[in-house]
Structure formats: structure tokens, C-alpha cells
Symmetry: C2
Subunit: 325 residues, 2 copies
């Protein structure tokens, strides 16, 4: 049995716990929290809830620690900190800072003789894999990534910070005409505005100036100004009834030619009922790979691009060749 | 520069030559043929056309030999034969015999200190990869492979062997309702007949008994009897005008749950203008991986499941992490 530790018990940590239940070769040994451990209720019978301060005591009792914190402040610290002690897997997704995070975890893992698998999930993660395969197989071509329809937590949070807003949910939506043009192999040049639209469902305070809130949303730099944005004001009840889930998804499309006029289109798409639960399932599959690499004596940081696909599986090479090649 | 040898110059060999032209870090050094070498015209300036009998003389002059023969009789012999001398890549696609072919090439490659990458292409190949990733990430689920719309060479050949048939083209077509049900996450149980239909375009001899030909096609065991098959009789001119290409494609769909009622659908699809040209492009990307593995001192047989995705690329890990993770 692969012994899993979960660091952090938010949406992602809870998703990891559920994902482990779907994998009979794994068990959750401990969940680590910054809250008072006795206040946390977990699903796994027999697993310990412990304080993050006690994590070090679990060296030798956990085969891989899955870090379920956020990329802004948690993972840049926790990655190197725990990579010295455990094999780790994280979902670090601040694209611009991946090289730095990789270097930090790599140094810590080499020091500790462990494996860190960083930036695991669907983007970065499975989408990165598909961009890579696409580019290598159709080098004379172009790739496009479309996100959605799905909830962007960052954009929802940005709306909530506006004065007079009680709650909000923001959906990122790919522009259907753009997706179709890419699928037809037209390799169009697309601006930000031409690729995605944004749709916002906002609960405002009673008597708030709705026109002002809408203006603040649609003109917000980085988040909304470069997009066509639609704002709907709804009641708190409507938000809870119609927008409770965290669905997401998207697609990576590579189109290219192998000779004049001979074109090909490769499309990889995800339709996810729950973004955190799916991301967690990817983390758990890569946790298996981390343990296998460590057993082989590998140490250092890895990403999904470095890991042989077969390492995600509990089956042997013989079984895989026979059943799914 | 990676020096490529091409063994066999049919559709696949010609596709490999074109694919190499799209990869600036590679060059075709020699094309080997069973025909009289002086009768062969190739596209690559400076490359040699040689007899298969002389292949052994190219040891040390070729980094990887891409075997472009057929799976029925060529590759079972050529794989082990050339794996003793060169790093090889092949597209062996007789699913039931892959374990045996793997063992043969593995033994030859270990003896020769080379790397054999076998069963490369899109199925087996990229579709196998997607079945693997799907199963590991959504273990509580089901996967479906649909082929087409595309030309099946084997089925077209089978029709041509019928008395009174001059030429034929057979298209494999997924049943749209089946694809839709799978995409909705219904995990249906589908019979062979419910998954694909077959459409045949047949040129018959003048005065041939068309009803008899049609009956022989639709009742042919293994090839057509288990499918709903449509037969169209057309002229030789219509066949050449409308059915000249070798398009193909298909999709692998994995659908599964991460907790009760929380479902996800992963879909990987290919739309290919030319089946052999696309397959060739996959072979060429894995040729790069074979050379890199051999340089690291690896020997033996590998499949797409064993090879780190980054090995397909000419770029460094740093570049890949920065640009596409």
C-alpha cells in the first residue's frame, strides 16, 4: 500500500482523500491542518488528523505527501520545506514562476533524497502534456488552449472585493466561432477578446449602485478589461441554487500540416463536474509515480513532462502492453 | 543532427521522409528498398538509396532506423533483425501479437546495446497513451475508442478479393448516437454493431452480379458480418475523383466519477487528412526519443507508455517548463 499524507484540507485536500478511495493500492495515513486538529472531520477511517507543526514526525510513515495549499503563498514555502523530508506532489500553477519553484524543489529534493513532482493537474498538467505531444508530432503547426465553460475562482474573488458586492460567480467561456475556426485547421491569429468571454453572476447589497458595480467589473484591468464581459445581478438564493458547483474544463487543439495541403487536427478536451476533484485525481495518479521513481533511487524535481506514462499505473508493463496498447 | 534511415519506401516510408523535413534537427541519410535502388526516386537531396541487403554497412552512419514495413510479415522479422544493429522505431499494430514482438525486439536490442521503440503511431500509440492516462486518473470509469470516419486498408483489400470487384474503398464510421451517449457520461455497454458502421464504395466489372457482390461483402465474417454495412457501386472515375485520399481519425473517450454523482469526461480526438503521413510523424518524434535513450545508455524495447513525453522534443527541460508547462 502507498501511504499518502495530505497537507491542507480545503477543496483540493478533500478531493485527494476521495481520489485515494478510488485507488485500491493507496491509503490516506494522515491529514495535516493549520486548524485545531480536533475540529476537523475527515472521511478516512483510521487516518490521523495532525497539526502541520507535527508533519516532521511522520517521516518514514508516509510515502508521499500531497501538498494541497494555494500557489500564491503556501506552495512556494511548503514545496521546498517538505521536499527535504518527503516525496511530494503539488499543483503549483503560477505559470511564470514555475522555473523558480522547480529549482527550489529540485534543490530540496536532491538534499533530502526525495522526488518532487510539481505543477500537476490539468493546466499546468494534462494540457501541458497535450501541448508537448502536439508540438513534437506536428512541428509545422500551431496550438490553442481554450478554457471553460467553467468557474474561475480568481475572477470570482476579484468581483467579491468590489464595494457593494456580497457574492459572485464568474464563468470563463470559449468563443464558439474561434474554436470552430481552429478545428477547421485555419490557424487563426486570435486576440484575448476573440478567444474567451466572461459571464458574471453577482449578488449585490440592497440599494447598491448596480451600474457602478457593473462598470467596475467590466473595466477591471487584467481580469475583465480585455474581454467581452456580461454581468447578471441575481439573488443570494439564485446563486446558491444555480451556481453551487465548481465545474470547469477546456480543450487543447493542435493543428498542423505534414506536407503541402495535408492537414491534421488533434484535440484534447475535458468536461469536469468539479475542478478540484478532477485536479486531485491527477495529483493522486502522480503520487504513485513519485513513489516509484523514489524506489528506483531517483531524486530531484520532475514535472508531468518528465514522467513515463506507465509510472502512473499500478499495473506492470506486461499487463499494460497486453490490455491497452 | 539525428541521422535517420528509412527501411521501406511505401506510403509510410514516404511519410517519414516528409516528416523529417519538418524537423530541423534531423536528416534522412539513407532509404533502404527491396526494389532495384536505381529505380527509386526520393525527395531528400544527398540521401542514399540502398538495397536492404546492404543495411548492415550503415552501422555507425545511422542513429535510428525507422522500419516502414507491414505488421503481417515484415516487422516480425525486421524488428529483431535490425534491433541487433540499430536503434529502431516501428509501427507494429497487430494488437494480439504485441507482447511477442516486444519480447523479440527486447532480446535483440539488449544483445545489440540498442533501443527499439515498437508499436508507435496513433493506435497503437497516441490512443494507447490516452487510454492509460484516462484509466489512471479516473479509475472508477470506462473508456471507449471510436475509429473513423476513415479508410480501412484491410477492409478495402478484403472487398477487392471478391470475384468481380475491380477496386474498392471502405470507410469505418462511428455511430453518432453511441459517441453522444459516451460523452454524456452514460457509460453504455455497446456491441460491435452499436459502435461503428461500414460504408463501401465498390467498382465492379461490367456485367458482374452486383447483388451477389453486395451479399458477399455484408456477410463476410470478421470484416463485415458484425456491422451494419452499406454498399455503393460507383465508377472507376468516381472512385479516383472522390476517394483518392487516405483520411482517418477517431477518438478515445474516458468517463468516470470521482465521488457520487460527480462525473468527468476526457476526450482525445484526431482528424487526419492522411493516415500514413500522420503515423509517420509520430514515428519520427519517437525516433528522437530512441536516440536520446540510447545516448543515456538504455538498451531494450520500449513502447510509448514507457517514454517520458519530454524525450520527444528537441528542446531542453528548462525551455519546455518555461514555454508550455
Amino acid at each position: 500500500m502507498i501511504r499518502i499524507g495530505i497537507m491542507g484540507y480545503g477543496n483540493l485536500g478533500r478531493g485527494v482523500e476521495r481520489a485515494v478511495m478510488k485507488n485500491p493500492d493507496m491509503e490516506v495515513v494522515a491529514v495535516f491542518t493549520r486548524r485545531a486538529p480536533e475540529t476537523l472531520k475527515i472521511l478516512t477511517e483510521g487516518a490521523v488528523v495532525a497539526s502541520v507543526a507535527d508533519a516532521e514526525k511522520y517521516v518514514g510513515k508516509i510515502d508521499v505527501m500531497i501538498l494541497c495549499g494555494g500557489s500564491a503563498t503556501d506552495l512556494p514555502v511548503q514545496g521546498p520545506q517538505y521536499a527535504r523530508l518527503f516525496n511530494i506532489v503539488d499543483s503549483f500553477d503560477t505559470h511564470a514562476k514555475i522555473p523558480e519553484h522547480f529549482a527550489d524543489c529540485d534543490a530540496a529534493s536532491r538534499e533530502g533524497g526525495t522526488v518532487s513532482v510539481i505543477s500537476v493537474g490539468w493546466d499546468p498538467g494534462l494540457f501541458s502534456l497535450n501541448r508537448l505531444y502536439g508540438r513534437c508530432i506536428l512541428p509545422d503547426g500551431k496550438d490553442y488552449t481554450f478554457w471553460g465553460r467553467g468557474v474561475s475562482q480568481g475572477h470570482s474573488d476579484a468581483i467579491r472585493r468590489i464595494d457593494g458586492v456580497i457574492d459572485a460567480r464568474q464563468y470563463t467561456i470559449p468563443v464558439p466561432e474561434a474554436v470552430k475556426a481552429v478545428r477547421r485547421g485555419e490557424n487563426p491569429d486570435l486576440t484575448t477578446r476573440e478567444k474567451h468571454t466572461r459571464e458574471c453572476f453577482v449578488v449585490a447589497e440592497e440599494g447598491a449602485d448596480l451600474a457602478r458595480i457593473e462598470r467596475e467589473i467590466v473595466t477591471m484591468p487584467n481580469y475583465f478589461a480585455d474581454y467581452d464581459t456580461t454581468v447578471h445581478f441575481i439573488t443570494k438564493e439564485e446563486l446558491e441554487r444555480d451556481h453551487k458547483g465548481i465545474p470547469h474544463g477546456g480543450r487543447v487543439i493542435r493543428s498542423g500540416e505534414t506536407s503541402d495541403g495535408v492537414g491534421h487536427v488533434v484535440e484534447y478536451s475535458l468536461t469536469l463536474d468539479s475542478n478540484p476533484e478532477f485536479t486531485s485525481s491527477v495529483l493522486v495518479a502522480y503520487a504513485r509515480a513519485a513513489v516509484r521513481l523514489a524506489k528506483e533511487g531517483v531524486s530531484g524535481a520532475k514535472t508531468v513532462l518528465d514522467i513515463p506514462p506507465a509510472y502512473l499505473s499500478a499495473e506492470t508493463g506486461e499487463e499494460l502492453r497486453k490490455t491497452l496498447l
